[in-house]
């Protein structure tokens, strides 16, 4: 297992660098210029000198190397400094947002809790719904319940988050007036009342995102459970006289979860992409909202950092999927 883990980690590093390079190159073509806001009275030769001193005219590999060093070494090190009180990065420049002139990582850190709460809760709810739904759909294949599960998954596919969110707002905020249509980030949970308010404002964003998750994962769970249900060990368990509950929970569910666990790990980045849309609808000022406003303002350092962070996250999710699968199923490790 340790050898397998090391091999996977070694493979992940070049992938990470390649993805970072793709994002870097795409943004390198951008028309935005960090010198654009300087006064026009500065003579061109002084401007050229400033560009040289800032390293803006350096060749591409040098700029990418410096950026990668800053992103993967300096910025994480500032967090270690802050947590442990060390001075690894004293006086080192940080990546600065063009829009707010604050370090990009600090901006993201301010926005991350909202996103994590909404996305995390939606994912947990989605999985808790999807696994029993898929299992029972497979157990009672072609029943009314299975048809209903199929309908839910096709709705999750055909009704994208920006429309399901609008439908929920129309029903629960406009007509019924039960839930607020926008998310109040200044709310602090201090007692039962504020906890209730927090739950009410999270209900719709979580519902929108978990519909997508449920739709996807319940189909995988159903297909996996159908495969397992047809296998000999299930027939053998029934022949031994195990009751159906035990067959379903111990023999079918546990084996069917194997491929589903890696689908769950792989699907997490996709939920973050869905969160970009959901945050826009419900006015949650999370990371996705920061990305959209930064794109509109042409704030390239922030856009670049968020995009690469998402890429890092995808690579880590891939890695986690591989490792979890190998830990659960020894056949993978030795194959």
């Amino acid at each position: 297992m340790i050898r397998y883990t090391l091999r996977r980690l070694v493979f992940a590093a070049p992938v990470l660098l390649a993805i970072s390079l793709v994002v870097f190159l795409l943004l390198d073509l951008a028309p935005g210029d960090p010198m654009a806001q300087l006064p026009l009275s500065i003579p061109p030769e002084v401007k050229a000198e400033m560009r040289r001193v800032l390293g803006l005219d350096a060749p591409l590999p040098v700029r990418f190397g410096k950026w990668a060093w800053q992103f993967y070494v300096i910025e994480p090190a500032t967090w270690i400094d802050r947590a442990l009180g060390t001075a690894l990065t004293e006086d080192r420049p940080r990546m600065i947002s063009w829009q707010t002139r604050a370090p990009v990582m600090d901006l993201i850190a301010q926005r991350l809790p909202q996103t994590l709460w909404v996305v995390g809760l939606a994912y947990v709810v989605g999985i808790l719904l999807a696994v029993p739904l898929g299992l029972w759909s497979a157990y009672r294949q072609y029943s009314a319940f299975d048809q209903l599960g199929g309908a839910v998954s096709i709705i999750g596919f055909a009704v994208p988050p920006f429309f399901s969110g609008v439908l929920l707002i129309l029903l629960f905020s406009v007509h019924l007036g039960w839930l607020p249509s926008s998310y109040d980030t200044t709310l602090r949970v201090t007692g039962w009342d504020s906890l209730l308010a927090q739950m009410r404002q999270m209900a719709m964003p979580v519902a929108v995102l978990s519909l997508q998750t449920t739709a996807l994962i319940s189909r995988y769970m159903r297909a996996a459970a159908l495969d397992v249900l047809g296998q000999d060990h299930v027939r053998a368990a029934r022949a031994r006289g195990s009751n159906e509950r035990r067959v379903l929970m111990r023999h079918v569910a546990r084996n069917a979860m194997l491929p589903v666990v890696s689908v769950i790990a792989l699907g997490l980045p996709q939920v973050f992409a869905g969160a970009i849309v959901t945050e826009q609808i419900f006015r949650v000022n999370g990371v996705g909202h920061l990305l959209i406003t930064s794109i509109q303002a042409g704030d390239l350092p922030t856009v670049q950092t968020i995009t690469v962070l998402l890429a890092v996250f995808i690579v880590l999710a891939n890695l986690a999927a591989d490792l979890i699968y190998a830990a659960l199923d020894p056949r993978i490790r030795y194959a």
Partner: protein, 279 residues
């Protein structure tokens, strides 16, 4: 469970939507950009069956115009993505030394944060392409290109698997020993045998392209309000959800129905082509 009606229902629904969008203006000839300032934010009436927007533009006419854009983007992006995916998948399956590099490229694209990159690409290249091709054609080409560049990977993977399986069959060996050049082998023997896989990928690609375009437009980086797609109409309508819910519901329902119809067609095609029976 075979669903013989799924293909018919999907085709019928899609035909209905395409007909309404293409032939609709013959029956309802109000130009989508004409402003009726006396009837701003109007409800349903004989003059405007679905009401008007905040500038008095007729919603029915704008839905037809928007549908033409959304469906055109869906179709064009599907053609580009499937063509790219087919070439990469078939080459990876046929040429052994290119298989590794091409599949690593596919994996790399699958690991990219696609929605943020699509947002960035559309924002960055909007102005240069608009200058080169004109504002509308430039934006159309850009959005189609961005969607195609971010959605060819599934087609490539599926086709590589199918082609690898075909290459081991004896009729391919026979064709090769008869001296068939690789290009003829691909067009004469490989492509006809993977046609059903391509068709299933194509339906998935159409549905995905329509959703991606709507997402871009909803987030404000797609088509502008004077050249609106369904996604843009939906985004504009959400501001008036309280008193004119129809402005958001109609375009949203049309997006969902189109995706649903295409998904049903894809499902039915897969059921037909999969000898193991429907899943």
């Amino acid at each position: 469970m075979r669903r013989p009606f799924a293909l018919c229902a999907g085709v019928a629904l899609l035909t209905l939507i395409v007909l309404a969008v293409l032939a609709g203006p013959l029956l309802w000839s109000v130009p989508p950009e004409r402003m009726d300032l006396a009837a701003r934010n109007a409800g349903a009436s004989l003059a405007h069956p679905l009401g008007t927007d905040q500038l008095g533009r007729d919603l029915l006419a704008r839905l037809m115009a928007g549908g033409r854009i959304s469906l055109a983007v869906g179709g064009a992006a599907m053609l580009a993505a499937v063509a790219l995916g087919t070439v990469i998948g078939v080459v990876a399956g046929m040429v052994r030394w290119l298989d590794g590099p091409l599949m690593r490229l596919t994996d790399l694209f699958l690991s990219l944060p696609l929605l943020p990159l699509a947002l960035i690409a559309v924002t960055l290249f909007r102005a240069p392409l608009a200058a080169a091709l004109g504002p509308e054609a430039g934006l159309f080409a850009l959005i189609v290109g961005v969607i195609a560049a971010t959605s060819w990977m599934q087609t490539a993977r599926v086709l590589r698997g199918e082609v690898l399986a075909l290459m081991a069959r004896s009729f391919i060996a026979a064709a090769r020993s008869a001296g068939t050049p690789p290009l003829a082998l691909a067009t004469r023997h490989i492509l006809p045998n993977v046609a059903s896989a391509i068709a299933v990928s194509a339906t998935l690609a159409v549905a995905g392209a329509i959703i991606t375009e709507s997402t871009l437009s909803f987030l404000g980086v797609g088509f502008p309000p004077d050249f609106p797609s369904w996604g843009r109409l939906l985004a504009d309508g959400t501001a008036y959800l309280g008193d004119r819910p129809g402005r958001a519901l109609w375009p949203g329902a049309l997006i969902s129905l189109t995706v649903l119809a295409v998904a049903y067609i894809g499902d039915a095609l897969r059921d037909r082509s999969d000898p193991r029976g429907p899943r």
